[in-house]
Symmetry: D2
Subunit: 279 residues, 4 copies
C-alpha cells in the first residue's frame, strides 16, 4: 500500500467559445481509491464530471469563454496493487477469456495487430506462455527501440514504430499492445501519473490480460509499475487524450507531478518487478 | 413494421482444434426483436452465446475439432424502425452529447478521423448541420467512389479509400464514419443482413448520432436502410468480423440470405429515404 | 534575361570523419549560365565536383574531419528563360514523348502517382489539355492546401499531403508532380534558389513536360517562376537533398540568398505568369 | 559462358486505341550479348524500339487498335557473367563510389530506405563488410519472409513487407535493396528471365554495388544467379513494368520461358553461389 499525491495543471489561451474534455482525474478501482481530490477551473465555469465505459474513465467536460483558461487537478490516492508472483501467472486460453476482454484483441487506431501476426509469431511464439512472454515483449521493445522525443507524432502507429525503431512512452505501449494482441493476449492502453518519471509528465503504459486479471507493464522502464496511478484505460492513446478541444484554443503550458507520501515504491524500475495489477 | 427472415451458413475445413468467435446473430434492440431463432453447428459441439458491450452484440464462441465444420444461423426478426423527418433532425452540440457516445468520436483502426479534419472542413463545414450534412457526406462518397470488389482488403483504411477512390461496403462506411467524426458527429460501424442486397452477403453500413439518437446510413445505396437487420455495432469493421478464428481452419463457403416476409420495405434505395433509427 | 546572385552557407559540427555530398551549386543549362562562381570550405579540405545524370546536377563531395565545418557557395547566374504563350502550349501525346522523359511518368518515393489515377481523373480529366491543365493542378493545390511549416517531415509523401491538406514547398511540388504523372504528363522535381522568396531558403518546385520541352511551375506561388535558379533536377526531393551526410555531423545553421542584380523579374508571383522554360 | 533461349508472349484485348510500352527485350551489356532476337506483333502495327538511361533498358513502344493484340518476343542470349570469389569482394567507401551509382542510394517508390536506417544498423552493422554482408541481408530475408503469392500487390513497399513478412520476388528484392541503401551500399532492381524458375514467369531480383562493380543477388533463392538474363535495371519495380498501358486494354494471358541451351548453370540455387556480375 502506498499513498501518492498527484497533480496536473493545464493552461490555454481560448480564442472563441470552446468545448473541452479533460481526462486527468484518477480512476476509482478496487485497488486504487481517492482519499482527497480537487478540481479548480479559472475563470470559474460550470463543469460536468462523469464516468464512461466499463473502464470507468472519469472525464470532465466544460465550455470555456475566450481568454485565459486553466484547469488544476489534485488528488491523494491510496494505491493497493495486488502483487503476484510472475512465474505463476499463465495466459488464459481463448475459450476462458471473459467476454468483456475480447474487444481488447481487436486492432485499433494505433495498434494494427492484424498486420503483425507473422512478426509476433516469429519472435515470440516459442517462448513460454504467461507473464514471462509479455515481459519478453517488453524486453524486446526496450532493446530495439530508442526512446527519442520528437521522432513520432499523433499519427504514429505501432507499425511505424516497428519500422523506425524510435518513439516515446505511448509508442512503446502501442507496439507492446499490438504484439500481445497478435499473440491472442488481450492488451490495452493505460494513461496515468507515474511516481519517479523524469521529466515529470503524463505517462502511457499498458495492461495485458493474464490468468484472470489485468497486469501492468511499462516497456520504457522509466517508472516502477507499482507507482503508476491510473487515469484512464482504453484501446490505445486515441481513447486517452488528456485534453480534447472542440473549438479554438492554444495550449500554453502544463505541469504534472506525482509524489509518494509513503515509502513503499522501489526507487528504480528494473526488469525484475513483481506482477502488478491495479484493477 | 416488417418481418424479415435472415440466415447465414458458414463452412470450414478445420485442421487442428480451433476456437471460433462468430458474430452472425442479430441484436436485440428496442426496435428489432427476434420472433424465432436457431443456431446449428455440425458436427455438434457445445457453444456459448453472450452479449458484449453497451451495444449488446451477441457473440457465439465454440471450439471445433479437426474435420469439416459448419455453422448455420437462422432468425425471423421483427423490425420496427423509428422513421423521422430528415429536415427536422439537427446535430447535437458537443456539450449535449451523452457521455456514452463520446467514444465514437475517437479515431479507430480503419477510421483515421484525426487525419481528415481539414479535408472534412473544406468539403462539409459550410453545409447546414444535421441529417442533411451526413446525407451530403454519403452523396459525396457515392459520387466519388466506385464500388469495386477486389480493390481493397482487410488492411484498407478510410485514408486509403479517399486516395484510391474505390472500395466495397465496409470501405464506404469507414470513410463516412471518419468524415463524420472529423466534423464532431459521433459515428460507428454496423454489420448486418440487408434485404435486397445483390449479390446476397453480409453488409456493412454506419450510424451517425444526430438529435438524441443514432440514425442509419448506407453510402453504397445498395439496400434500403429500413431493411437493414443489425448484427453488431462497433467502432469500425475491426469490431464486427463475422468470424474470428484462433487456430487453423480454412474458409470453405458461405451463404447469406435476407428476405422480407411482409411488404413494407421500399424496393430500391434512393437518396430520399426517411431517417431510420433502429436502436 | 536577368542577372541573379545566389549564395548559401551551411555550417556543421562534425563529430567523426564524415562524408558530405552537397547539392547547392547551380546547374548549367541552355538558359542558365554561370558568370561567376566560388566554393569555399572551412577548414580547407579537398573536394570533388562532378555532374551526374542526364540532368547534369552538379554535386560536391568531400570528407570533413571532426570539428566545425562550413561550406560557402556563391554564384552570379545569367538567366535567359524561354518565355512562351501558355494557351499555345499543348501536352505531347504518349507516342511523341522523347524516350528520355518517360522515366518521369513513373511513381517515386514521394510521388505515388500510381495511387492517384482515379483522383486525378475525377478532378482534371475533362479540362482542356496543355499548360492550362497543369496550371489548374497548381491552382487546385494552392486552393486546398495550407502552407504550414512543421506539419510535414522527410517521410511525408504526396498521398499524405492530399489527406492532410497542409505542407511546405516540397510537399506542394510532390503532389503536383504526382497528379501530372497520373494524367500521363511527365513531371519532375526541381530544387533551386528563388528570387523574392520569404523567408529566404532553398526552394522546391517542379517541371512538367509539355509541347516539346519542360516548363517550370510553382504551386506555392511564393516566388515568380522566372526568378528560379536551378540547382538540381530529379524524380522528387529524394534526388535533391541539399546535403547528404554519411557519418556523424550535426547541422548548425544555414543562410541562403537570391538577389536580382537587374530588374526583369516581376515583384509578385501571380496566377498569370508566362510559361517559363529554363532547360 | 552459357547460351540461353528466352521468350515471352503477352496477349491483350484492346478496347480503344491504346499506347503500350513493353519492357521485355533483353539488355545488351558487356557480359550479355544477343545472338538472335525477334519481335512479332499481331496484328502488325509499327513499333519503335529504343534504349533509355545509363542502364540501356530497351523499350518497345507502339499503338494498338481495338481488337485482340499480341506481342511475342524471343531471343537467344550469350551469357558470359564475371564470376568472382565472394570473400574477396569488399564494399566501396562512400568517397570511392563512382558518381553515377550515387543515385542508387536514394529512396524510391517501393524502397523507403530512409525509414529503415535504424533497423538496418541493428541487424547488419556489425557484420563484416562486403559481399558477405549483402548475402547476410539475403539470408535474413529468406529466413523471415514467406514467399506467398497474393499477399502483396502493386502498392506494396519494402516497409510493408518488413511488417507483414510475406511477399513475392519483387517484394524480396525491394526489401533487400532498401536495407542495402540504408547501409550505404548502392542497390538497384533488375527484372529478367530466369532459367529454372518455377513456375516460369518474369523474375525480379537485385544488384548491389560492391568493390568496383554491380553484383547480382536473389533473396528468393528460386533461380541460380548465373542463369539470370537481364531485361531492365532501375531504382525499383516502378522502373521495370513489363508492360505500361495508356488507354483501355485488358490483359488476357502471358507465357514466359527461359531455357539453357548449354549446360553450365547449376541446377539448384544455393546459399553458396559464386559472385555473379553481368554488367
Amino acid at each position: 500500500m502506498s499513498l501518492i499525491e498527484v497533480s496536473s495543471e493545464l493552461a490555454y489561451q481560448v480564442n472563441e467559445p470552446t468545448d473541452f474534455l479533460f481526462n486527468v482525474a484518477v480512476s476509482k478501482t478496487n485497488y486504487q481509491s481517492i482519499r482527497d481530490e480537487s478540481v479548480s477551473v479559472t475563470p470559474e465555469v460550470s463543469y460536468e464530471m462523469f464516468q464512461i465505459g466499463d473502464e470507468h474513465n472519469r472525464l470532465l467536460r466544460l465550455k470555456a469563454d475566450p481568454g485565459s483558461f486553466t484547469l488544476a487537478y489534485q488528488a491523494v490516492v491510496n494505491l493497493m496493487p495486488e502483487l503476484d508472483n510472475p512465474p505463476a501467472i499463465d495466459e488464459a486460453s481463448y475459450g476462458e477469456l471473459p467476454s468483456e476482454v475480447l474487444v481488447y484483441l481487436n486492432p485499433s487506431r494505433y495498434c494494427e495487430s492484424d498486420r503483425l501476426v507473422r512478426f509476433a509469431q516469429q519472435e515470440f511464439v516459442k517462448l513460454e506462455h504467461g507473464f514471462s512472454r509479455v515481459t519478453a515483449i517488453c524486453n524486446w521493445i526496450h532493446t530495439f527501440l530508442t526512446y527519442t522525443p520528437g521522432t513520432t507524432d499523433s499519427r504514429t502507429s505501432a507499425c511505424d514504430v516497428l519500422i523506425q525503431r524510435t518513439g516515446v512512452c505511448r509508442d512503446y505501449a502501442h507496439l507492446a499492445i499490438s504484439l500481445c494482441r497478435a499473440l491472442c493476449i488481450p492488451a490495452r492502453y493505460v494513461a496515468g501519473y507515474a511516481v519517479g518519471l523524469e521529466p515529470p509528465d503524463f505517462h502511457g503504459f499498458f495492461e495485458a490480460y493474464l490468468g484472470n486479471r489485468w497486469y501492468l507493464f511499462d516497456a520504457t522502464r522509466m517508472a516502477p509499475t507499482n507507482g503508476l496511478v491510473r487515469i484512464s484505460t482504453g484501446r490505445d492513446a486515441a481513447d486517452a487524450s488528456f485534453a480534447t478541444i472542440i473549438g479554438a484554443a492554444i495550449f500554453q503550458q502544463m505541469t504534472v507531478t506525482a509524489k509518494e507520501l509513503t515509502h513503499e515504491i522501489q526507487d528504480q524500475p528494473s526488469q525484475d518487478e513483481p506482477a502488478v495489477s491495479t484493477v
